[in-house]
Amino acid sequence: MADNDIALMAHLMRRAGFGAQYEELEARAARGYETAVEELLHPEDHSNGMDLDLAERCFIEWNHFIRCVPEYIAWRMINSRNQLEEKMVLFWHGILCTADSKTQSYVTSQAELDMLRRRGMGNFRDLLLEISRDPAMVYFLDNCLSHKDAINENYGRELLELFSMGVGMDGEFNYTEDDVKECARAFTGWTIANGIPGQPYGRYSAQFVYNPEDHDEGEKTFLGHTGNFNGEDIIDIICQQPATARFISRHLYSFFVADEAQVPSWMNTPPRDPDTIKLLEEEYFRSGYDIRSMLRVLFNSDAFKDARFSRIKGPIETVIGTLRLVGDWNTPKPGFESIFDEMKHMGQEILNPPSVEGWHTGKEWIDGGTLVRRINFIADYVGDVSYPGIQDIVQKLAAEGPTISPEGLVEGCLRLLGHYELADETHQMLVEHARKSGELPTNTREFPDQVGNMLQMIVATKEYLYA
């Protein structure tokens, strides 16, 4: 099989998933790129390959989702073969944000993330409806406190600003302050039963309830439409807006193709690839707001295929990708919690986006503190040759011959990490570093550590910050 096909598959799996070991890349590439894309797009047709029963017996807290929900989500990201399905959970979790720091109810967050998994590649209108009725969201953005005689605008505003249209497009505002108020009025009566903070009596799951008594039945004017609107009508109007097509397309592009400008600047900053955004916008309307169709167009576009190493990995991608690479956490064992501290100190915690605006991405992931944390985390893992994924890399290199040249060592490690590419200068520095040890025999006791050392140097590069 051509190296090119595997390099492209490595790219697809870094973006549409959390990366993959070399053998998995070979297997997926052997079925052909378009087939591999369809497999990812249709998790319902393929086993996720996880033995969740076994995991649940070891992590007994999972049974009721009263604890360990980040662990459950991370477990799926690491172990599910349906990688895109899990990646879409992260995608939507960063846009349709709720934070456990406020909701304080894992059982309700769990229900939300399961919904994002179920709806993540479906129709965007259905997703907006579900998130508007999602108990964690209703509580997080205080819609349960919005009453017909005392409107709380929080959900109404964020639905427009952060979940669907964005503040503005092409230099123009997408809606007015009045639209925000009218939108909030339309969602009055959308509330929850079993309010979330269960302290001191324990946590209960909450359910969505529509309370017609508390719904503002008055006439509303929203984005130029007038009527006695309820929330569903507002969502219908939102979905028809070109701004919504633009907003979702830019988010998809930024998450899967290449880092866009930060969301708040989208009103005045044009997309970095207007042609691809236009393609996605057209597919949004053509398909009737179908996310799966937009993803199909995206993954099969040249813009995607050519965009290797143009996105800075986020912390969750970094941590999950590292665990998948080295082959850790395929079976349950104690001590999973510490990886969540790592994610947190790199700047991203599952179930705790810093605010309803989600995480800032791209270069904003990186500062002195988060960079140090990230490099140290990956280097500690890839330098530990007891991990099966690292042993595989060592054995594959050893199988190539009785000795390996400095150039061969650098090139081989880069390839087996997923066809990483370094700037010529960086590449040369690593080759020079390897030359200090000269041509290495591959059957020695030291060889695994020599490979581990090279892997540590590679994951500390600037290039490795990218996916």
């Binding site: 205080d142 810093p354 605006e357 990186i366 280097a379």
Partner: protein, 378 residues
């Protein structure tokens, strides 16, 4: 590296989430106040009054004590033109000092460039928290950003001192900027190099620090402790930045429960920090600015308050002439700005005052214009 302990130091405390100005610094005798706040009002006898009109929220007693000692300037009615009620954009405006258009350079980033034009000290500015605030970002400006001071360092997991030194040597060269590799890569290069150099210096700060002050356990209190450690270690750091996590003060609901606890934690930490400086005879060297992105809606929503405008900020320190600055915005219904406090005090006036009168910089190039200054530094 030159270090002069007497160089003025600015500490910025960002209270993210938009604290409710009306219940932070309370116009308790205004007859409209209880009308707007049937549930959330603080009774006049509980307010920590500074005069017969206004006073601090009762949970802010530690700050009130500093006020009584003449060390707190209250910046009333602070805001910016055409208030925007989005957390993101509003913080951006405070960070960039540019309300009219989106820019990327932070006001402090530019100030740091002026403080250390030849980049002699990579620790001229240090941030504590998750992620670097845009206020500190400017091309070519290095800011150390630390989540946990005790464990800061690059490739700490490489076995063997010699091997690690070798690796760090290559790391340093790999992160040297390459010509033509683009702005993002230049940024990554610089961040990597500065992290490498900064870590070795910063790590010594907790080792040489000792204090009788015990800080609280919240991240904010711990970061203030780290700020004290770094300042007292005499690295020549001039700008220190920290805050509370985004959304913390975003009290749309249950404000009566969360708000007093937040102010209690925050003002206790500030008081501890001040006492710590005092114990080390460093209290005259530091001025703090405590701010938030906007004020909240004047009329409560029954449980909390929605996004508004017109806020209040505080400048704290021995060098500060304590008292009230700006005007308290009117609560007359017809004088509100779409239901919000109408700002009368451009935040850039406070910035200009701090930059020129405290830090000794020319404020004009940093702020891109001239703003009236307050006479608030001794």
């Amino acid at each position: 590296m030159t270090s002069n302990k007497k160089d003025p130091v600015l500490v910025i405390l960002q209270m993210t989430g938009a604290y409710d100005a009306l219940n932070t610094f309370i116009p308790y005798s205004d007859p409209h106040y209880p009308d707007y706040r049937p549930v959330l009002q603080i009774s006049p006898e509980d307010v920590l009054a500074v005069d017969d009109k206004v006073g601090f929220h009762p949970a802010m007693a530690p700050l009130k004590e500093l006020y009584d000692e003449g060390k707190v300037a209250v910046m009333q009615g602070i805001g910016y033109p055409n208030p925007i009620r989005s957390h993101f954009r509003s913080l951006d405006i405070w960070h960039t000092a540019e309300p009219e258009k989106m820019v990327t350079d932070g006001w402090l980033g530019k100030a740091i460039r002026d403080l250390d034009p030849d980049k002699e000290n990579i620790l001229t500015a240090v941030n504590f928290g998750r992620g670097l605030p845009r206020a500190l970002a400017a091309p070519g400006v290095s800011v150390a950003s630390v989540g946990d001071l005790a464990s800061y360092g690059v490739l700490t997991g490489i076995d063997g001192e010699e091997q690690r030194m070798d690796a760090l040597d290559i790391f340093g060269r790999m992160y040297s900027p390459l010509i033509g590799s683009g702005a993002v890569n230049d940024y990554l290069s610089q961040t990597g190099l500065d992290a490498l150099r900064g870590a070795d210096i910063l790590r010594t700060a907790p080792e040489i620090y000792s204090s009788g002050v015990e800080y609280g356990g919240s991240p904010f209190a711990q970061w203030l402790k780290n700020i004290a450690q770094v300042h007292l270690a005499d690295f020549g750091t001039r700008v220190l930045y920290t805050g509370v996590n985004p959304g913390t003060f975003d009290t749309h609901a249950n404000q009566n429960i969360t708000f007093p606890k937040l102010w209690g934690d925050v003002t206790n930490a500030i008081s501890d920090f001040y006492q710590d400086l005092k114990e080390h005879n460093a209290n005259e060297e530091v001025v703090m600015l405590l701010f938030t992105e906007f004020g909240r809606r004047v009329k409560e929503n029954g449980s909390g308050t929605d996004h508004g405008s017109g806020g209040v900020a505080f400048v704290i320190g021995d060098a500060v002439k304590g008292g009230l600055y700006g005007e308290y915005p009117s609560l007359e219904p017809e004088k509100l700005d779409e239901g919000d406090l109408r700002w009368n005090n451009d935040f850039r006036s406070t910035y200009a005052t701090l930059l020129e009168q405290w830090m000794g910089l020319d404020a004009n190039p940093v702020l891109g214009g001239t703003y009236e200054q307050f006479d608030l530094i001794k």
